[in-house]
């Protein structure tokens, strides 16, 4: 198991963003085959068989999610979640930049399986150029009869609407995304009812990530069983891993699931930069718990990483070398959650504020040990007690870093400055 290019196989082809080149590379064959070989029911069954799990972070089986829609309630809606804002994550931007029609084809296949006549792509506001690109591609596909009424003579109708966000991490949470799409403040809704029952405009709604949908043309063409055979038993297929931080070759690498994390680091990322050693890494983006060098042997498998106390999340690997101050990293992440807390529930709104205040004083070396001991208490009062996962995840990294690097956190207390910076100054200037 190693690098395996499925979604990224055509990346770099000149003009791939145009319909003509995409079709020359076999584009929209998946959609044609979906119409020819499958009913919506058998297509859902095929996706279930493929073992495809959501690529947005939670890893929920896609076919199962689709199966939750009530059988006879129409209209239904499909939303592509392109609100990628997880710290360390930039794969959806790449998938759109490099091969936008692959996403649109996947979206239409899902729409057919779900019998949806209006599908939305909700893209974060910061991805302004990507939104324009998608709008142009949707227009192009519509003009070619791939979007609209009676697509390819199948009798199936579906329109696609690209909708831009306006800067809010929380809109990546599916119910907040739905609120935002309705023109409201993007705040999460109480579940149940789940979006599959009552989502956009009160109708059954499925929200799928960009990468999840981009897999569908390949699953339709090559079969669920073929996809299932790729990767590991419970994490089938490939995944795009966004690698960043202290490495020689930052970038996005598509790996077969099950490849050891160390292989991704050494073979693809070119190892840790400046001949330094690895201190810690985050396997799933800003929300996920910190892992240590000993965890490099773990396979890129959702369940294996979960057993080690973290998560592959949205597939963002952030590597940190030996000069990194984990207090500083924790402070940045806590600041992020404080900024992005939507303010709907008190544990998150107040908790992230306290966390941020505490971490800033700790980072500056102005916190007492007594005050540091309240960090655990604050996080305990947030984790599992917030309205949506944002508040929970705001505690995961900082708590795991505190546990793994307790000495480092305590050394900051009353130090007046960062002891890690002082200890590694020689290495940094070398």
């Amino acid at each position: 198991m190693a690098e395996h290019r499925l979604l990224t196989q055509d990346f770099g082809t000149e003009g791939l963003q145009t319909l003509a080149v995409y079709q020359r590379r076999g584009g929209y064959q998946g959609l044609r085959e979906a119409f020819r070989r499958f009913t919506p029911e058998s297509l859902t069954a095929e996706v279930k068989e493929s073992g495809l799990r959501g690529r947005g972070g939670a890893g929920f089986p896609t076919g199962t999610k689709w199966g939750f829609l009530p059988k006879d309630t129409f209209p239904r809606y499909l939303c592509c979640n392109a609100d990628e804002s997880e710290p360390g994550c930039f794969k959806d931007r790449l998938l759109i930049d490099e091969n936008p029609h692959q996403l649109i084809e996947g979206l239409l296949i899902a729409a057919y399986a779900l019998q949806v006549n209006i599908a939305f792509i909700y893209i974060r506001g910061e991805y302004h150029d990507q939104r324009l690109l998608l709008e142009r591609c949707v227009d192009e596909a519509r003009a070619a009869g791939l979007i609209g009424d009676n697509i390819l003579g199948s009798g199936f109708n579906c329109d696609v609407i690209v909708h831009g966000g306006a800067g809010a991490y929380i809109c990546g949470e599916e119910t907040a995304l739905i609120d935002s799409l309705e023109g409201l403040r993007g705040q999460p809704r109480l579940k149940p009812p789940f979006p599959a029952i009552k989502g956009l405009y009160g109708k059954p709604t499925v929200v799928n990530n960009v990468e999840t949908l981009a897999n569908l043309p390949h699953i339709v063409q090559r079969g669920g069983a073929w996809f299932k055979a790729l990767g590991t038993e419970k994490s089938s297929g490939t995944r795009l891993f966004c690698c960043s931080g202290h490495i020689n070759r930052p970038g996005t690498y598509e790996m077969e699931m099950g490849t050891p994390i160390g292989e991704l680091l050494e073979e693809e990322c070119g190892g840790v930069w400046k001949q330094r050693s690895l201190k810690a890494f985050q396997p799933g983006g800003g929300s996920m718990q910190v892992l240590l060098p000993e965890h490099l042997a773990l396979p890129l498998d959702m369940d294996a990483v979960a057993q080690a106390g973290s998560s592959l999340g949205a597939g963002a690997m952030v590597f940190m070398d030996e000069t990194t101050c984990l207090v500083n990293v924790s402070m940045r992440l806590v600041d992020f959650y404080q900024h992005e807390s939507c303010g709907k529930c008190a544990p998150c709104r107040e908790g992230t504020y306290f966390e941020s205040d505490l971490m800033h004083r700790l980072e500056g070396g102005h916190l007492t040990r007594d005050e540091l001991s309240t960090l655990t208490d604050i996080c305990d009062n947030m984790n599992g007690k917030c309205f949506c996962p944002l508040g929970d995840t705001a505690t995961w990294f900082v708590m795991s870093a505190y546990q793994a690097f307790k000495d480092e956190f305590e050394a900051h207390c009353g130090a007046g400055s960062c002891p890690v910076r002082a200890a590694t100054a020689e290495l940094v200037t070398a």
Binding site: P87, C89, E126, G186, S244, T252, M320
Partner: protein, 179 residues
């Protein structure tokens, strides 16, 4: 409204409310929730420097310090000549593979060094100003050449320049994609 004025004025929001049959406070509630709506006029160019984890690990603090010194105003401020508004943001821009990164008028600039920042700001600062000269030249699209990931240059239409000083249309047309 923001596309026309460069920010959301109270009058603009009131007009949107009347078109959509909403209370002005409902429009304001939405506008204050999202970070990309501005409630006051900004500079000609908007610079956002990412300071989240991946950028932080690769020198974002140095970039922030440099931008602050060069533009002579703190994060969130606008230069005296109103050419630039800049801010550092904890909201990950999604350019971690090219960290440290920033966005200028929605365009990504990656693998920043103080020298590269200087070159980018220098070029923008010396262009004719939007609303005062040739908008085609001043359009932020000109910065697209700087992008490091080389997407198809012919891909999107040239983004609309932020015409903070152009005369607003009498009745701002609400754009569904921007609300």
């Amino acid at each position: 409204v923001q596309n026309e004025l460069g920010y959301l004025s109270a009058e603009g929001m009131a007009e949107v409310a009347s078109i959509l049959d909403l209370a002005p406070s409902e429009v304001q509630a939405v506008s204050t929730f999202y970070s990309m709506y501005f409630d006051h006029p900004e500079g000609d160019h908007h610079v956002i420097v990412c300071i989240n984890v991946s950028c932080g690990l690769r020198g974002a603090d140095e970039i922030v310090e440099h931008v602050e010194k060069r533009l002579g105003c703190p994060s969130g401020g606008t230069t005296a000549d109103r050419r630039f508004t800049w801010e550092s943001t904890v909201e990950c821009l999604g350019a971690c593979g090219g960290a440290p990164a920033m966005q200028v008028d929605h365009h990504f600039h990656e693998n920043l060094t103080p020298e590269r920042v200087d070159a980018i700001l220098e070029r923008l600062g010396s262009q004719p100003r939007p609303g005062h000269g040739d908008e085609a030249i001043a359009a932020p699209g000109a910065a697209g050449a700087e992008r490091t990931e080389a997407p198809d240059a012919a891909v999107g239409p040239t983004p609309k320049p932020r015409t903070a000083r152009s005369a607003p249309r009498k009745r701002p047309r609400p754009d569904a994609s921007d609300l």
